[in-house]
């Protein structure tokens, strides 16, 4: 090695050294790769620009301000066909957020339960969970979405059947209607005084958090355990129920009722939402179950044996010893499952759920011919959403990390 350096410094720099001299070779390769990448990207851009101009199209986001002209069934904010394409996009984005949010929650619940139960000593339960996990992990999500949707439209009665003398009837004392157009449930009606009720509720939540902190500190200092669960439950229910009666029942329920073609009143959860939500949750839940199982298995057996030796009950061993350590292993892959679920929600169009892909990335693009602009915006939306989710989960991860005292 030393001799090469000597030789080259004596003879000056030769071009062949760029390839044969190990000191320069990696630089050369990097430079070439970089140049190729730049060339490729510039080719892509120039080709796009050229093709657009051949078609006589420009690159312009002005279409967002134009009248959309189409209706959307599920709108979380006011929207009519007279609203702009931008507003239609926002309606779609909110629908995406709704199903992603509901999906992440349900997937986590399902996943944790299935993951823990798969480790159960009960042979049947463990096998059942294996069937669930393998069944959902190994069949494409799209098939599950369509299968659940088809089951819900084919196996449930139509609104007409709920009429007097019809074959179908509502559930839970005539408050819930399960039909082939979705599930209608009672909707809360916020009367005067409901603000006060909400404030009481929020305060009682704050009280629960405060009490838990206090109990924890006391336990650290004195070792005395306070009855956390009963107190929390009491704090959760009692003040709100009291306030409800004191304020004279400010919140009432609007029940769905059959009128004309469909049910009116109440909250309409469309089949498209339910099918997408269930399919996303069950599918992602199967992956989360494996992550949870792996996380629990990653904690050495000696840990629980040591906890038992100290006299901790199994539930406390799980909560205080196993889970905190398993969380370190569980959270990072969990983040990517949440991201997957969110992005997979763009399969919504299969069941006509009007998410961002169906409004902005579907109808709007189709009516305005702005494929490139629409797809860029849509890509940007999913990118930002994913970054926000993983950012939030990373903060959570940092808080759950093992802290040394």
């Amino acid at each position: 090695m030393a001799s090469t350096v000597d030789a080259s410094s004596r003879q000056g720099f030769k071009l062949s050294q760029l390839i044969y001299d190990t000191r320069y070779r990696s630089l050369t390769i990097q430079a070439i790769a970089m140049a190729l990448l730049v060339l490729f990207l510039s080719w892509l851009v120039s080709n796009t620009v050229q093709n657009l101009s051949d078609l006589g199209k420009d690159f312009d986001f002005g279409f967002l301000g134009q009248r959309a002209g189409y209706d959307i069934n599920q709108t979380l904010i006011p929207y009519t066909s007279g609203s702009s394409h931008a507003r239609a996009a926002i309606v779609g984005i909110l629908n995406t957020l709704l199903v992603a949010f509901l999906g992440c929650i349900l997937a986590t619940i399902v996943g944790v339960i299935a993951g823990v139960l798969r480790l159960s000593k009960n042979w049947l339960v463990a096998r059942l969970m294996t069937v669930y996990v393998e069944g959902f992990r190994n069949v494409p999500l799209l098939l599950w979405i369509i299968a659940i949707f088809a089951m819900m439209t084919e196996a449930t009665p139509q609104p007409r059947d709920f009429r007097e003398g019809g074959t179908a009837s509502m559930w839970l004392w005539d408050s819930v209607a399960v039909s082939n157009r979705g599930v209608y449930i009672p909707a809360p009606v916020w009367g005067p005084g409901s603000t006060a009720l909400i404030i009481v509720f929020v305060l009682s939540i704050a009280a629960i958090i405060g009490f838990r902190r206090y109990a924890f500190r006391r336990q650290e200092a004195t070792g005395v355990l306070l009855p956390i669960l009963p107190v929390s439950l009491a704090l959760f229910f009692l003040p709100s129920i009291l306030a409800y009666f004191v304020l004279g029942g400010p919140v009432s329920l609007a029940y769905p009722e059959l009128g004309g073609f469909n049910f009116q009143g109440g909250l309409h959860m469309r089949n498209s939402l339910i099918a997408l939500w269930l399919a996303l949750s069950l599918y992602t839940g199967a992956f989360i179950a494996e992550i949870v199982r792996g996380g629990i298995l990653s904690v050495a057996k000696g840990q629980s044996e040591a906890a038992f030796a100290l006299g901790l009950r199994p539930s406390r061993t799980m909560n205080l010893v196993i889970l905190p350590q398993a969380m370190r292993v569980i959270i990072p892959p969990l983040i990517s499952q949440y991201l997957n679920l969110t992005k997979n929600s763009s399969l919504a169009i299969a069941v006509g759920y009007m998410d961002a892909r169906s409004t902005l990335g579907g109808i709007t693009i189709n009516q305005t011919g702005r494929e490139l602009e629409g797809m860029l915006l849509l890509g940007l939306f999913y990118l930002v959403l994913s970054l926000i989710i993983s950012g939030a989960m990373n903060v959570f991860n940092a808080r759950m990390k093992l802290k040394e005292r």
Binding site: Y70, D71, N73, S358, E371
Partner: protein, 338 residues
């Protein structure tokens, strides 16, 4: 140095792209097949038969163009498109011609940069409901759940119709006609709305077509026609005049039965020019003399195609109505072949 190479690359790719975008005719000839966009399946307009061969009224336009250009009505690659994918497929060059119940509108022509080459079916949007609902007018549909195909003019007309009539409705957006049919038959929606011809075709494929009625209201104008990309006028002309040849053939009584005989020469100079025994029309659009003859022989003239795929004797059972020749009080009117 880097910069010049970069600019060089830019111009080269630019030129290559520019050349590829023009001259669809050359592309089609080099390839030996015509890539034709059709629907994913609509009886009478475009649907594969039991042997997987595409057939129908829109399919016939593709075959006529292939016969004119490639001398073989079978030299067509059919590309099934949905309401949403059809325009991207055409704009990106995946297909050379789109014949898929597509309504000619101002914005599709000018904003989406397409060129409609004519109208092969004059239509309007209608509503279909199950008979047992007892609905007799579209004005009674307030509060109904309506199945619609997304990415269509149907969607926009529907919004306008309910808005102007001050009625509420619940749209159920659906990708293809097959899905819409399934949803409608499962009663997941009360009403199915699309072009009246599409409703008739869809109803024809039901087990009990008689259980469903098409309401009298027609709420829009839907001139359906084949279209090509903007900017290649030669190719647009070929598609346009192939369609015109089919229409003119009916007007002049040229049918698949008598075309061989007529192309020996007739007393009617217009027929002679059409069939290439007189004049040089074929040359003018870059084809040979017999282009129109082959196009007509591919499946017959406009009237024959209509009778075979949509007419009163078929399950679809549509009357000629607006789609009769101008001489019979319809709107079909091919410009002179001269």
């Amino acid at each position: 140095m880097n910069k010049t190479a970069f600019l060089g690359a830019l111009t080269v790719t630019g030129l290559a792209a520019g050349a590829a975008a023009a001259a669809t005719l050359d592309d089609v000839r080099d390839r030996g097949t015509l890539n034709c966009g059709v629907s994913t399946g609509l009886t009478g307009f475009s649907a594969p038969d039991a042997n997987g061969n595409w057939e129908g009224f829109d399919v016939a336009v593709c075959r006529a163009v292939a016969a004119a250009v490639l001398e073989d009505p079978e030299a067509v690659e059919f590309v099934p498109t949905t309401g949403q994918t059809r325009f991207t497929a055409l704009a990106s060059g995946e297909i050379d011609l789109l014949a898929r119940n597509t309504t000619w509108t101002f914005s599709r022509d000018n904003d989406l940069k397409f060129e409609f080459v004519g109208v092969n079916y004059y239509d309007g949007q209608g509503f279909m409901v199950p008979k047992e609902l007892g609905v007799t007018s579209a004005k009674d549909l307030g509060g109904a759940t309506v199945c619609i195909q997304t990415g269509t003019t149907t969607e926009l007309n529907l919004a306008d119709f309910f808005r102007t009539n001050n009625m509420e409705y619940e749209p159920v957006p659906i990708e293809t006609n097959a899905e819409a049919q399934q949803q409608y038959l499962a009663d997941a929606c009360d009403v199915y709305t699309t072009d009246a011809s599409g409703l008739a075709a869809t109803r024809a494929s039901f087990e009990n077509p008689g259980d469903h009625v098409i309401l009298p209201e027609i709420i829009s104008k839907e001139p359906l026609g084949p279209l090509v990309r903007h900017g290649d006028n030669e190719w647009g002309d070929i598609a346009r005049w192939t369609l015109n040849a089919l229409i003119a053939a009916e007007e002049y009584g040229v049918t698949s039965a008598n075309i061989e005989e007529l192309s020996q020469g007739t007393q009617n100079p217009e027929v002679n020019r059409l069939l290439g025994t007189e004049g040089n029309l074929g040359e003018m659009i870059g084809l040979d003399a017999e282009w129109a003859k082959r196009a007509i022989m591919a499946g017959g003239n406009y009237g024959e195609l209509f009778e075979r795929y949509l007419g009163e004797s078929t399950p679809v059972g549509l009357a000629r109505g607006l789609n009769a020749q101008w001489t019979d009080g319809g709107l079909l009117y091919a410009p002179p072949f001269r």
